[in-house]
């Protein structure tokens, strides 16, 4: 359990002279489930984007399995570390286009069985595979986007307030799936959430305030 997977060393991020994050250091071990808390605007989301290589730190370094992210191929890294956006968007035409995209870009066969199983877990019927993206509700889109991120069995899930814009019912459905993934696939999770109950298995909570680490418990 104590194998370090992600390590941040004095990470900072600055935009146009404004320090968004400074001096953030922590280690996440394989299989750990970490939640980030703090007021909005504190830099949590930026921190997760840095780990997801959506942004690059302006100071310090982030290591993945002991190698600096700057030396890793971002495309290969993102195939293992899956970033999930707060307001996820679907693309192309149908639900299947979205669910098969991860396999398509890896030049692999689309695992329809896995897609159907995950869809069932988020209460999306099989007939939705051919449904047009534009005909889906907000909650359905978010659930399908979540299934899309799980299609390629990532090692790490980075969740940026994934349920904050959803109603109670959708929140529970996605929360349940996250917990099942933690249980069944031993996935490492770093999650920003205002709803601690969403992640029952959280082993750690890191608090970020005004761009600095306040607490790690």
């Amino acid at each position: 359990m104590s194998e370090p997977l992600i390590e941040l060393k004095n990470v900072g991020f600055e935009v146009d002279g404004t320090q968004i994050l400074q001096d953030i250091s922590f280690v996440v071990n394989k299989g750990e489930v970490v939640t980030f808390s703090g007021p909005s605007g504190s830099g949590k989301s930026t921190l997760l984007k840095l780990i997801g290589t959506i942004l690059t730190p302006t100071s310090g370094e982030i290591l993945y399995k002991g190698t600096n992210l700057k030396e890793l191929n971002p495309i290969e890294y993102r195939k293992e570390v899956s970033y999930f956006f707060q307001n996820a968007a679907l693309f192309d035409e149908t639900v299947e286009d979205n669910l098969s995209f991860p396999a398509h870009i890896r030049e692999k066969e689309f695992e329809k069985e896995r897609a159907l199983k995950l869809m069932e877990q988020v209460q999306i019927p099989e007939s939705y595979l051919t449904k047009k993206v534009k005909d889906l509700s907000g909650g359905e889109k978010q659930r399908i986007a979540f299934v899309r991120n799980l299609m390629y069995q990532p090692d790490v899930l980075l969740l940026d307030e994934v349920t904050s814009s959803l109603d109670q019912e959708n929140r529970e459905i996605i929360g349940k799936l996250i917990n099942e993934m933690i249980e069944e696939e031993k996935i490492t999770v770093l999650s920003i959430t205002h709803n601690q109950a969403e992640i029952e298995k959280a082993s750690r909570m890191i608090e970020i305030r005004a761009g600095k680490m306040e607490e790690d418990k």
């Binding site: 290589t53 959506i54 971002p74 495309i75 993102r78 956006f85 996820a88 968007a89 986007a145 390629y152």
Partner: protein
């Protein structure tokens, strides 16, 4: 026949009344276009007189090297104008020059080798102008489409990158849509040719007394040539330009 093709200085001067009509409309409706119309009129007169004399010189000396230099000059100008319309895409001059240059070269090679036109300045220079200006317009539309789609579909592109897509995989749908947008006007024009407009090439030949049935043969070649050049130019420009929306860490920079 030739007498009808001469416009004497008086006729030219009287044609200015046409501009005055436009200026009256502007004055009455307070459109604020008076200066633009005046400047556009003056520029057109000066530019066309200069190019008229330059073309006369090029046609008279009929030198391959000078004809080729004129082709390069046209391609350079078209590339520069396309670059100005790129709204900030990096390396847009290089991209435009490659797209317009390749499109023009391929089209000229096909036309000359098929015997549709001869390598004489009287044919090469006007045809190059037609090709390059259409390529320039197509690229301008393609750039605008890339810019608006990368901005409208920013979240979708970010999603694809986060799922492990490379730049090309993340941009492919935008690239395809932009090529289509760049090609659309020349396809539409080809569909309505003869029904709505009698295009310049054909009109010019008919003016010069060529049998309309002969003139349309040239027009057919020109329409096909324009579809080909706009597709080549939009294709090259899109495929070269999409990379400029990313940094070397495969992150979207817009």
């Amino acid at each position: 026949m030739t007498s009808s093709l001469e416009i004497n200085n008086w006729s030219l001067l009287f044609s200015v009344t046409l501009l005055i009509v436009a200026m009256l409309v502007d004055y009455k409706e307070k459109l604020g276009l008076g200066n633009d119309i005046f400047v556009a009129g003056i520029r057109a007169v000066i530019q066309l007189f200069i190019i008229g004399y330059v073309l006369r010189y090029i046609l008279e000396i009929d030198n391959d090297l000078i004809t080729f230099a004129m082709v390069l000059f046209i391609v350079f100008n078209a590339s520069y104008n396309a670059h100005k319309r790129s709204e900030g895409i990096n390396r847009s001059f290089t991209i435009s020059a490659t797209a317009i240059g390749t499109g023009t070269a391929l089209s000229l090679i096909v036309l000359v080798f098929s015997g549709a036109i001869d390598w004489t300045p009287a044919q090469i220079v006007p045809i190059t102008g037609m090709i390059a200006s259409n390529a320039m317009t197509a690229i301008g539309i393609t750039y605008r489409s890339l810019n608006s789609k990368f901005s409208d579909q920013r979240q979708q592109v970010l999603e694809k990158l986060a799922l492990g897509a490379d730049k090309k995989q993340a941009s492919m749908s935008i690239v395809r849509e932009s090529i289509k947008t760049g090609m659309a006007p020349s396809i539409d024009r080809t569909k309505t040719v003869g029904l709505v407009s009698l295009p310049g090439m054909m009109a010019g030949l008919i003016f010069a007394g060529v049998d309309p049935v002969e003139a349309i043969r040239y027009q057919i070649v020109v329409m096909f040539m324009l579809i080909s050049v706009t597709s080549i130019a939009s294709f090259i420009a899109s495929y070269m330009a999409y990379k400029e929306y990313y940094n070397d860490r495969n992150q979207l920079t817009v």
